[in-house]
């Protein structure tokens, strides 16, 4: 007997929640980014789980797309971070509060 999809979903949910907390709690922009990746991974797990449940590969295709988007995001995001770092010599998001001023 295989493991019920529910367990995978529980795992995905927990990981997603951890990702959210990480984004909120951590201050290093790069680290925050990694938590975002974690959340994306959790979602990927959900997709795969549902794909199995439905008996199709559509969910897996979606994972594929998420991966592409994540790659693009990482590329641009890290570019921005390194740019900010060049100007501010910090990757602490708390110091990027120009909105306030």
């Amino acid at each position: 007997m295989s493991v019920a999809p529910g367990f995978y979903l529980v795992l995905a949910g927990l990981m997603f929640a951890i990702g959210v907390v990480g984004v909120l709690v951590r201050r290093n922009a790069i680290v925050i980014f990694m938590f975002v990746e974690l959340m994306l991974n959790a979602v990927n797990l959900i997709f795969v789980t549902f794909a199995r449940q439905q008996g199709t590969v559509d969910g897996q295709v979606l994972v594929f797309f998420v991966l592409v988007v994540a790659a693009a995001e990482v590329v641009v995001g890290l570019g921005i971070i390194s740019l900010i770092f060049r100007y501010r010599v910090s990757s602490n998001v708390d110091e990027i509060n120009l909105l306030k001023r």
Binding site: V23, L24, V93, N97, L99, K100, R101
Partner: protein
């Protein structure tokens, strides 16, 4: 109304033919001088005088044809539509009848003389051509006023002469007093015009037209109350233009303008517009019962006396003449209040002669004394300036009502009319004023022209140049013989004007001689008193004694009985305070405050709400998350937890 106009047109063909030309000549000259005056410079005076002279000739021709047409001479013609909306329509309508013919002669005749005089008087002024342009423009507007067939066109002339008066009083605008006086004249006149305008509205609402012919034809059908209201509102306009109580205050100040202006505008023509208007619309005044006429008569009499008192205490020769003008205008209204419209016009004509003469004489004195106007610094000038002195004396005798000068006949005519109408109190005031008039005029004459020679230092006295004499001498002659146009018994002018203003009541028999004699005696007494106080040996002692009896009164009179101050504190100051409050406090703080207050409320709310916006991305993310969580929880609850 159309029938009447048609009837008038049918009567004779062409005396309105020249009317537009009479207006156009000075108008064209005015525009020409305004545009090109700088280039032709010296020629400006000649051109301007020529234009008026041409208008004068045309007026004579028109007058001749009116005389020839006899009783039914009135003729009007619409040259173009002006304002036509709905059933209201006025056009550029001109009316020529006996009354306007007489006025044409006065305006263009006296106007021509004064233009000629100005050539000499204004010689060397920096804005020489401009002066003549304004003067021409004034005459053009005055002619529009006189020839207008409808009240609105009359109003054009009415305001137009006011504008020219403003421009000419303020001609030497570098002097603050001149600029002030010009503004004051215009604004005070505006107050009168405000009343006049209301009268026009009421007339439109009542008669449905502003045509003089139609108004006068329908005046009889008006109810007394409406007619009274109309008459009083129009008369309100006249008190402004003709400087009657309570709006006379601008005229003495207006003397800041060049003297020919004072002669032309503030003595001979413009200020008589009110008198002319009342005569022109006499049926309306008649229709009011007695009320409106009584008001006209009382205001006229009161002004006559009041201004005569003021004149008796004034030292500025031009201001004496200004108060005298006010007083004489009061006379004219006094007569009109007694139904004697033609007597009012008669006095208007003679007054135009002698008052213009005296103003021009005063101008000659100022010209000779480098602009000095204070009579205390003058004396004995007749020997140095024989032409001026002699002609001035003519004027003084005329205004004092001495037989056989022009003023006697006209003054006699109007006092007699007041008596004949049963207005004995007004008659008495008139006689008293006649006495005062003689007194203050000869006070002026004796101080300036008689006695030992006294002139301001460093002034070389000279008599008038030829152009100025050319105006003084004809006017002097007219002052002497001007009375013949309306000799008692023959009464040419009154008969001539009858078709327009109706028949005047004239006292009959012995009473007429008694009244005339009394007026003459009053004048003679006034001259005698003036001689006693100002020319005889003990004069200065007598003056001091008189002053010691009532010092307060004299001081008050010299301060114009505080009228200007009362107007200043009573009307101008509160008005200024109100405006200033509105402008500096009310509008920005309250009216704008409500609006910007709304804005500020939003701004303040935002300011407070802004505290939430920490600027930290993570904080925003937290809020974002809480939103997401809330939605999740809601969804779960809905599904049925």
């Amino acid at each position: 109304m159309n029938d009447l106009v048609l009837a008038a047109e049918g009567a004779s063909a062409d005396h309105t033919a020249l009317a537009p030309l009479i207006i156009a000549l000075p108008l064209a000259s005015a525009f020409f001088l305004m545009l090109f005056g700088k280039r032709i410079d010296r020629l400006a005076g000649v051109i301007a005088s020529g234009a008026i002279g041409g208008a004068f000739l045309a007026s004579i021709i028109t007058f001749g044809s009116v005389v020839a047409a006899g009783h039914e001479a009135a003729e009007s013609h619409r040259f173009f539509d002006w304002i036509t909306v709905g059933d209201f329509s006025v056009g550029f309508d001109l009316l020529v009848d006996q009354l306007s013919a007489v006025m044409l002669l006065v305006v263009t005749g006296v106007g021509t003389l004064i233009h000629v005089y100005s050539i000499g008087y204004m010689h060397g002024d920096a804005r020489y051509s401009r002066f003549f342009a304004y003067l021409n423009l004034f005459v053009a507007f005055m002619l529009i006023l006189v020839l207008a067939e409808n009240l609105l066109l009359l109003f054009v002339g009415w305001e137009g002469v006011g504008l020219c008066s403003y421009l000419l009083i303020g001609f030497w605008f570098e002097k603050p007093s001149a600029a002030d006086a010009a503004k004051k004249a215009f604004i005070v006149n505006r107050v009168g015009d405000f009343s006049f305008l209301l009268g026009i509205f009421l007339l439109v609402a009542t008669v449905g037209s502003l045509s003089m012919v139609a108004i006068n034809a329908e005046a009889g059908a008006m109810s007394a109350g409406v007619a009274t209201a109309i008459a009083l509102l129009l008369f309100g306009g006249a008190t402004g233009k003709s400087a009657q109580i309570p709006l006379y205050v601008w005229l003495p100040d207006a003397m800041a303008g060049p003297t020919p202006v004072s002669a032309l505008i503030h003595a001979a023509t413009m200020v008589t517009a009110g008198v002319y208007m009342v005569a022109r619309l006499s049926p309306v005044f008649e229709a009011s019962g007695e009320v409106a006429l009584l008001v006209v008569g009382v205001v006229g009499a009161a002004t006559a006396l009041w201004a005569a008192v003021m004149a008796s205490f004034e030292y500025d020769i031009k201001k004496v003449l200004a108060y005298s003008t006010i007083s004489q205008l009061g006379y004219m209204f006094l007569a009109q209040g007694a139904h004697a419209y033609s007597a009012g016009i008669f006095h208007l004509v003679t007054h135009a002669f002698f008052k213009a003469l005296m103003f021009l004489g005063a101008g000659a004195v100022m010209h000779a004394l480098a602009g000095e106007v204070d009579m205390r610094k003058m004396g004995g000038l007749r020997k140095a300036m024989p032409i001026t002195g002699t002609t001035f004396l003519m004027g003084c005798l005329a205004i004092s009502g001495i037989i056989p000068f022009a003023g006697f006949f006209s003054k006699d005519a109007l006092l007699a009319a007041a008596w004949a109408d049963g207005r004995y109190v007004l008659w008495a005031v008139g006689v008293l004023t006649a006495f005062l008039t003689a007194f203050y005029m000869f006070r002026l004459y004796f101080r300036v022209f008689e006695g030992p020679l006294k002139v301001p230092e460093g002034v070389h006295v000279h008599d008038v140049p030829p152009t100025m004499a050319a105006a003084l001498i004809p006017l002097g002659i007219l002052s002497v013989v001007g009375g013949v146009i309306n000799l008692p018994g023959v009464l040419t002018l009154e008969h001539f004007l009858e078709p327009v203003v109706g028949e005047a009541q004239v006292p009959e028999g012995a009473i007429a001689w008694v009244l005339g004699g009394l007026a003459f005696v009053a004048g003679a007494l006034g001259i005698a008193l003036a001689r006693a106080v100002y020319l005889s040996r003990a004069s200065s002692l007598r003056r001091r004694k008189a002053y010691s009896r009532a010092p307060g009164l004299v001081d008050a009179a010299r301060d114009k009985f505080y009228i200007d101050r009362i107007y200043g504190y009573g009307i101008v100051a509160p008005g200024k305070a109100l405006s200033s409050y509105l402008a500096n406090v009310f509008d920005p703080r309250y009216v704008d405050g409500i609006v910007t207050g709304t804005g500020r409320l939003v701004a303040r709310a935002s300011e407070n709400l802004r505290g939430i916006q920490t600027g930290y991305v993570r904080n925003y993310a937290l809020v974002f998350l809480s939103g997401a969580v809330v939605i999740l929880v809601i969804q779960l609850v809905r599904v049925g937890l």
